[in-house]
Symmetry: C2
Subunit: 129 residues, 2 copies
DNA sequence: CGGTATCCGGGAAGATACTG
DNA sequence: CAGTATCTTCCCGGATACCG
């Protein structure tokens, strides 16, 4: 898509665009939620169980991990599978849609990684003034 | 970069990764902040003045627009130029770094746009259960 | 093991009014 | 024109405790 931002914006607005209910921002909000990005990255390398995720992501609480997983499940990006064993085990994995999200998301992560020192410097300069 | 997510995570963790202070997430938080995305998209098509942005983005308040612009300026993504006229006029435009951000960001917007109905459907299905 | 339920504090954001 | 200032409200997220 060689679409410019202006094109997109124009189409959105012509479409009766409601910034309070913008699907793109709703998705971005989820992606940028405090723990979601780390959850997605952990699951990208394969299915994991609840406590495995809890251990893999330092400082996340049970409550927030559960909520992040529920949000992702609701968006159809993650699938939750319960195995009827004793004690019960629950597996989370990315759906096909979840994996396709990782493509553009990787690019954004790369950008942020490569620019992080430049941004840090800019912040120092700004704060000095 | 054919880097997998697992590679990235491993590197981060080996690096003494603090999820509370992750540069990538800090940047993503700004990008995904309520109004930032729209501001960036408006500025991508060229410099704009404060009130032009205010008019272009429905429902944004003066306060929040100011804060969004300050955050972007602080990150070095936007430049603020004051012209000493009467009445004064102030122009905002993307920096070079701001423009490079739009590349991966466009890809993510495209993904979100193309998946928005699928996600909406998934949500309906989830909520029905 | 894999969650819920409940309480609570702090920061984000809206409304409104004022200013150089 | 391009902002501040102040107030208030809301909700995210942490802490803690309990459950099938």
């Amino acid at each position: 898509m060689a679409d410019t931002m202006a094109d997109r914006l124009e189409r959105w607005k012509a479409d009766g665009f409601d910034p309070q209910n913008c699907p793109v921002r709703r998705i971005l909000d989820h992606v940028a939620a405090k723990w979601t990005l780390l959850v997605l990255m952990e699951l990208d390398s394969g299915p994991k169980r609840f406590n495995a995720l809890l251990r893999a992501i330092p400082d996340v609480s049970r409550r927030m991990l559960t909520q992040s997983l529920r949000d992702l499940e609701r968006d159809g990006l993650v699938i939750r599978t319960v195995f009827d064993t004793r004690p019960p085990s629950v597996e989370y994995k990315l759906t096909e849609g979840g994996h396709t999200l990782m493509v553009p998301l990787s690019a954004l992560i790369d950008w942020a990684t490569s620019q992080s020192t430049a941004i840090f410097d800019a912040q120092m300069r700004y704060d000095a003034a």
